[in-house]
């Protein structure tokens, strides 16, 4: 139990009297007494032990199946800000977008060449800065389709520290290393995290589906976070979250006005704007209308007046795991329905008449 330093350990502090050969990298670890000779690095047990340790750490960290972010990884959101102007279509909104829209379902349905991405951020407010940052990722030579998910929560005044878009901008500003390296560091920190033995190894290894109230999340390169979570009563949980959130931060008419102005500007610059209200269970939608007090008919009319296309896709049977967000299969189904609706949508003219009609 203690650090034994008996004489049998051959640890004489004095010099051996035999100066080692140095200068050869291959011989770096093997100088010493005459008994050691001049064998190569690969015959040194210390070196081999450390090599075996590093190899085992890398293997375990790479192969372990229980890795998951307890919170959201910072690099994921910062990367969204660094995408650059190379996309055909972008879906913009809050957590209902980043959890509930799978952009890969859009590509074949809309006949896209340069892909669709998900520009959703946690608790993001649809401010002009946010919408313009999303528009900046559209390829100027592409069809330039922007799909805005208008939720009651996204029309509240932005909350510093809660708005994921603002937080990502601040994180990016503070970053002292290239984002690519920051991502590697953050991912490896997670992979090197200790096994949570309190939850049992079996549970972690077999955790392919949510069995606890922790999120099971898969981060896709196109910005979608495929997620699931065990919530005992999703509807009640969703209603409670909606009521609590609107008590903390009410609807802001100013945000709605700013959004309309930003939409006008985008349409004028040639962006094809599509807007919709993401699906939530009817009970939660009613609670939102009740607590938020937002007239979505007015929002739709104002957006259409400035040239956006408002769509109401017919959604298949969907599952919301917490009353607000869709699980993976439902997100795919909802995305397909949304893409079909976008494909059918003809944008109105700025005076409310559809072009070509």
């Amino acid at each position: 139990m203690t650090s034994s330093t008996s004489s049998s350990d051959a640890a004489c502090p004095s010099a051996s009297g035999h100066e080692p050969p140095v200068g050869r990298v291959i011989g770096l670890w093997l100088p010493g007494g005459p008994d050691e000779g001049r064998r190569g690095l690969l015959s040194d047990p210390c070196f081999l032990t450390l090599l075996a340790f590093v190899t085992a750490v890398v293997a375990i960290a790479t192969l372990r199946t229980d890795v998951r972010f307890a919170g959201a990884p910072k690099w994921f959101w910062m990367e969204k800000l660094c995408w650059g102007p190379r996309h055909d279509t972008i879906v913009v909104g809050d957590s209902r977008v980043y959890r509930g829209i799978d952009p890969s379902q859009f590509d074949s349905r809309l006949g896209l060449v340069r892909s669709c991405v998900n520009f959703g951020f946690s608790s993001a407010t649809l401010t002009p800065a946010f919408v313009e940052a999303a528009a900046a990722t559209l390829d100027p030579n592409g069809p330039r389709i922007m799909v805005i998910a208008v939720t009651p929560a996204s029309l509240r005044a932005p909350i510093r520290g809660k708005d994921g878009y603002i937080a990502a901008c601040e994180d990016l500003g503070r970053l002292r290393m290239p984002l690519r390296i920051a991502r590697v560091v953050e991912e490896w920190e997670l992979h090197l995290a200790p096994f949570a033995i309190d939850r049992g190894f079996g549970e972690q290894v077999a955790a392919s589906r949510a069995t606890s109230d922790e999120y099971v999340q898969h981060y896709h390169a196109d910005g979608w976070v495929e997620s699931d979570r065990h919530v005992a009563d999703p509807i009640a949980a969703g209603v409670a979250v909606v009521r609590r959130d609107f008590e903390r931060a009410p609807y802001s008419p100013q945000v709605e006005d700013d959004l309309i102005r930003a939409a006008e500007k985008l349409v004028r610059s040639g962006v094809r704007l599509v807007a919709f209200r993401p699906w939530v269970p009817p009970e939660v939608a009613m609670a939102e209308d009740d607590a938020g007090g937002i007239d979505f008919g007015r929002v739709r009319t104002r957006l259409e007046a400035c040239g956006a296309c408002w769509i109401e896709p017919s959604m298949p049977n969907l599952r919301s795991y917490d009353g607000i967000h869709l699980d993976g299969p439902s997100a795919r189904a909802a995305s397909r329905a949304l893409a079909d609706a976008i494909a059918r949508c003809k944008p109105p003219t700025t005076n409310g008449n559809r072009p070509g009609s």
Binding site: T2, S14, G23, L28, G32, F53, F195, G200
Partner: protein, 469 residues
């Protein structure tokens, strides 16, 4: 974020140092510069503002020692200059806030003064390196060692990174001559160093860090646990042992790897038979420092029983105060002084060899006394210590263990300790069970397993406990 042994930045620094060490080791100047530079990077990584203090206090002692040899008439003055500067720095950074708060309770102290005192940041490892530096000037003054002329030689000794922030406290007489040589950089030493370091990491990461949340929760929420406080106290006893001896093992392991040797800091302290035996096994480098530089100069045991008792009490009080500016540490020192006095009274100051059931009883009594002492040491206040000790004696409280008790973590920690104890006990009877006698591939596999456990089974605890001292 500082550069503790558990941090990624330290592993990077260590890897770079290991690569470079083979090249610089044979060249005296290069070797000393490499050790000093690496140590300064290691220390400055915590907070670069601490570095000038380390250099300044070191320079005072370096120059004082040179002065003692150049101007023998001023030897005593220079020694006092060194002692006053070291103790002064220690008092200012470590005890001023405590002193001001204590005086402030008696008399009214202006707010700016108390604010200034409470805003002083304690430089990490200050208690360790000031003692190490003091031992150098005192030994030069006593004529036990010559003053070193090369400043890199001195600073390599003072700041040698494996032991800079939490010991072991290595005397100048032990380390300075070693640093003159390129060390014994052979395969056996490197293997032994790796074995020690991996064992240290296992103790710290798996055992101490797994127990830390349980102990911290118990002492911060201060529940009425009744007799269950014995479990919390035993957990803390294991935690502090594995934490501190783990650090010492890593430090000694790195030194071994470099070809040098640090003194032993722990020798199975919980197997002690009697308080005196405990102090010859626990934090050995500190207790021997106090013995040689405080207790013996005060007269030791040679000037009658009253003087001996006074010297012993004073030494233990100072030893307690060394651990921190808090009444709990002072009382802890006084408690151990009392235990030592009782032991002296019982055996008349002579070592007696106990056998059989008496030996077992003495061991059990020592363990109980040490555990009670740990309550005083760990408690947030004397009031809490008193309350916990009353509950441990069954005088009050009968609650349940904290709900956050992480059974698998504690079971893992207990299993590690049990396996270590069993292997130690068996190795005494069956020599080939001792890890050092295993075939090399088995040793390598054990090291890899210990290091892997330190990475993937580590507990949520954080810094080494002794960093705060």
């Amino acid at each position: 974020m500082g550069m503790s042994f558990m941090s990624g930045s330290f592993l990077v620094l260590m890897a770079l140092f290991m690569i470079g060490w083979g090249f610089v080791r044979p060249h005296r100047r290069l070797r000393l510069i490499a050790i000093t530079a690496t140590s300064f990077v290691f220390y400055g990584w915590w907070d670069w503002r601490f570095l000038p203090l380390l250099v300044a206090t070191g320079l005072v002692d370096y120059l004082a020692a040179l002065g003692m040899e150049s101007w023998p008439r001023w030897r005593k003055c220079l020694l006092w200059a060194s002692v006053v500067s070291n103790i002064g720095v220690l008092v200012f950074f470590k005890y001023l806030s405590f002193l001001v708060s204590q005086i402030g309770e008696a008399i009214d102290i202006s707010a700016p003064v108390s604010d200034m005192a409470s805003s002083i940041i304690l430089p990490i490892g200050i208690s360790f390196y000031t003692f190490q530096s003091l031992s150098y000037t005192i030994d030069v003054w006593r004529g036990r060692i010559r003053a070193v002329r090369d400043p890199f030689h001195f600073f390599a000794f003072l700041s040698m990174f494996p032991q800079l922030v939490a010991g072991p406290i290595v005397r100048a007489t032990e380390l300075l001559p070693q640093l003159e040589t390129p060390g014994n950089f052979n395969r056996a030493n490197r293997m032994h160093g790796l074995r020690l370091a991996s064992w240290g990491y296992l103790k710290k990461a798996v055992v101490a860090d797994s127990l830390a949340p349980f102990v911290n929760e118990a002492f911060s929420s201060n529940p009425e646990l009744g007799l269950a406080w014995w479990i919390v106290t035993a957990a803390f006893a294991l935690q502090i042992f594995c934490d501190f001896s783990g650090y010492s093992d890593i430090a000694c392991g790195i030194a071994y790897w470099m070809g040098y040797r640090f003194p032993e800091n722990f020798r199975r302290p919980y197997a002690a038979i009697g308080p005196r035996d405990f102090w010859s096994r626990w934090h050995i480098t500190l207790s021997s420092w106090f013995r040689d530089y405080v207790y013996i100069p005060l007269g030791g045991s040679r000037r009658g029983s009253i003087r001996t008792s006074a010297s012993l009490t004073f030494t233990m009080l100072i030893s307690g105060l060394w651990h921190g500016a808090n009444w709990t540490f002072i009382v802890w020192g006084a408690y151990h002084a009392a235990l030592l006095q009782v032991e002296r009274a019982m055996n008349g100051g002579r070592s007696t060899e106990l056998r059989g059931v008496w030996r077992l009883a003495a061991w059990a009594a020592t363990l109980v006394a040490v555990l009670a002492g740990w309550v005083i040491f760990r408690a947030e206040s004397l009031g809490q210590a008193s309350s916990v000790l009353r509950q441990m004696l069954g005088a009050s409280g009968a609650g349940e263990l904290p709900s956050m008790i992480a059974v698998p973590s504690i079971a893992l920690a207990a299993a590690t300790i049990a396996a270590a104890c069993a292997s130690y006990a068996l190795a005494k009877r069956i020599p080939w069970l001792a890890p050092s006698s295993w075939p090399t591939p088995f040793q390598c596999a054990a090291i890899v397993a210990a290091l892997l456990a330190s990475v993937f089974l580590r507990g949520p605890g954080s810094d080494f406990i002794y960093f705060q001292f």
